[in-house]
């Protein structure tokens, strides 16, 4: 009689805290159920409390992997973009979140990993390593990455310079990028406030852009960053 083959989960020796902080995470049934429920509640809350309007949903590619980039004014940016994604894709949509903030304690890790499906991004020490994790993630067909190329939330409302990471990621993966702009985030939940205020939000999704023709040089990286920044800013002007 041939022996059975077992395939123990690779994270079997990890504690709960490690399960939540490490990436890629193994799929958990309870996590999926909780995230689906949270996504539904989030959509209701955004519609009622912030009267969220989303334009340009038709620009989201129906299949394949892609990257979503957006201006970064508040934590609401991520939540609005998750609301824009179809419900059946929320488990394959990963917002890149600062590991030093969103994964700094067990409760924060639990919210970030279970409800938001965040990818812990090390923006302080191992940025390059985190970009590699993003690349690997996007290699799997159908995965979507949400990234804020400014790196941190603005406190003035002025969009900050896009960091080079997004350019490097795009030349490495050759995937389409969908630019977005969220209007109203700064007013609704400015940095430092504990709870969001009931201001209107307006998310505008632009047409996907492909940079396949560009090589991997630093000039291309710079070009991509600059081009994406101007596309997001353009959407901002329309949204306002």
């Amino acid at each position: 009689m041939t022996e059975w083959e077992y395939h123990p989960a690779p994270d079997i020796d990890e504690t709960m805290a490690e399960h939540l902080r490490n990436f890629p995470r193994q799929p958990y049934m309870f996590m999926y159920a909780l995230r689906s429920m949270a996504a539904l509640l989030l959509r209701g809350w955004m519609r009622l409390y912030h009267r969220l309007r989303i334009d340009g949903r038709e620009h989201l590619p129906a299949s394949g992997s892609f990257i979503l980039v957006c201006n970064h004014t508040s934590h609401l940016d991520t939540l609005c973009m998750l609301c824009a994604m179809p419900l059946n894709k929320i488990h394959r949509t990963f917002p890149a979140a600062a590991a030093d903030y969103f994964f700094s304690s067990l409760p924060r890790s639990a919210v970030s990993a279970i409800l938001i499906n965040a990818l812990p991004f090390d923006r302080q020490v191992n940025g390059a390593e985190s970009l590699t994790v993003c690349s690997h993630l996007l290699n799997t067909e159908g995965n979507v990455l949400i990234i804020f190329p400014e790196g941190t939330r603005t406190t003035t409302g002025e969009m900050q310079r896009f960091r080079s990471g997004i350019g490097r990621l795009v030349v490495a993966t050759r995937l389409p990028v969908v630019p977005c702009y969220l209007d109203g985030g700064l007013k609704a939940w400015p940095k430092g406030k504990l709870w969001p205020r009931p201001y209107r939000l307006h998310l505008r999704i632009g047409a996907p852009v492909s940079y396949e023709q560009l090589d991997e040089s630093s000039e291309s990286v710079r070009k991509i960053c600059h081009d994406l920044q101007s596309r997001v800013a353009e959407l901002g002007e329309i949204a306002q």
Binding site: W4, P8, I12, D13, M16, M29
Partner: protein
């Protein structure tokens, strides 16, 4: 079982004093050992695990019947999840989900009133659920029109449901009995003492291996020592079941002494066959849930049915 009854129950309060005293004494011993420079860091980790688990167990029992049934169901679900993740069955969400539903059905059967007899806990449904759930599990490959590898997956799901779900869930059904506090608290405490006794006797007197291909650290001397200790415990805790006659106490001690070690050995050969050390790492210093409740799984249904046969479970 209710909060009011727990507050009035001498049995519950006695156990609270016993475990509180043991926990406090153990903490003091560890503290003294630390002061004298002994390296007890690994024991501290285990002790910290107890500091969380004991209040959780006592708190759940304090809250009453519903909390106990829900608590046992959650332990069974998360215990089965560890088994499913260790074997690879977890990749099949249909079968895993079906076993979860089966365990929830066991909790419901433990909770609802028997429609014919009017007692809390639908015994007939509880006992027949393995047939329904096993039947449903066997239907999954047919529904999905799949054959390759299905026997292994289905067999793992059936074993997982019967062993970690149904056998363990007898503990929740015990919450419906008149002597629920005594039965449940005795089982929890006696099984843990049996575990500790097997380990300690093995360390002190262990020479001959008990089952070297399954668990090389267990010895015949440790096993006999644990059975001897477990035979004494029911006499010390006789207040838990004052209606028991002396031969019932001997039987109860034997069930815990032998059953506890069998449960331990079952998990050991499962882990050895898979090739893993622990079933998980959820409890600091203790491994996974199954590494902690393994000894209970064999004891609980045997105790339940012997008690039912001798005294009835009302």
């Amino acid at each position: 079982m209710t909060i009011d009854l727990a507050l009035q129950s001498d049995i519950y309060l006695n156990y609270l004093a016993i475990v509180g005293g043991v926990l406090g004494f153990a903490g003091m011993v560890l503290g003294v050992m630390t002061i004298f420079g002994k390296d007890v860091s690994s024991i501290w980790r285990t002790y910290r695990g107890w500091l969380i688990m004991i209040p959780l167990v006592m708190g759940t029992i304090f809250l009453g019947r519903t909390a106990v049934i829900v608590g046992v169901a959650l332990l069974a679900i998360f215990g089965f999840k560890e088994f499913a993740r260790a074997t690879g069955l977890y990749d099949d969400w249909w079968l895993t989900g079906l076993v979860y539903l089966g365990i929830i059905a066991l909790a419901v059967a433990s909770f609802v009133t028997d429609p014919r007899l009017g007692y809390p806990g639908w015994y007939g449904l509880f006992m027949s659920l393995p047939a329904y759930v096993a039947g449903a599990i066997l239907l999954i490959p047919i529904l999905r029109n799949r054959a390759k590898g299905q026997l292994q997956q289905v067999a793992l799901a059936v074993v997982g449901f019967i062993y970690f779900g149904w056998m363990f869930s007898h503990l929740g059904f015990l919450a419906n009995t008149k002597y629920a506090y005594g039965y449940i608290l005795y089982l929890v405490l006696a099984v843990e003492i049996n575990d500790i006794a097997a380990f300690t006797c093995g360390k002190l007197f262990g020479k001959r291996k008990l089952r070297e291909n399954i668990s090389p650290n267990k010895t015949i001397e440790g096993s006999i020592g644990a059975i001897c200790v477990s035979l004494i415990i029911p006499w010390l805790l006789w207040f838990s079941f004052p209606h028991f006659e002396p031969w019932h106490l001997v039987l109860t001690g034997l069930i815990v002494g032998v059953g506890g070690q069998l449960g331990d050995l079952v998990i050991s050969y499962i882990k050895r066959d898979i090739g893993i050390k622990d079933m998980g790492a959820v409890i600091e210093g203790h491994g996974g849930i199954l590494d902690r409740v393994d000894s209970m799984i064999f004891v609980v249904p045997i105790f339940f049915h012997v008690v039912r046969w001798v005294h009835g479970i009302r």
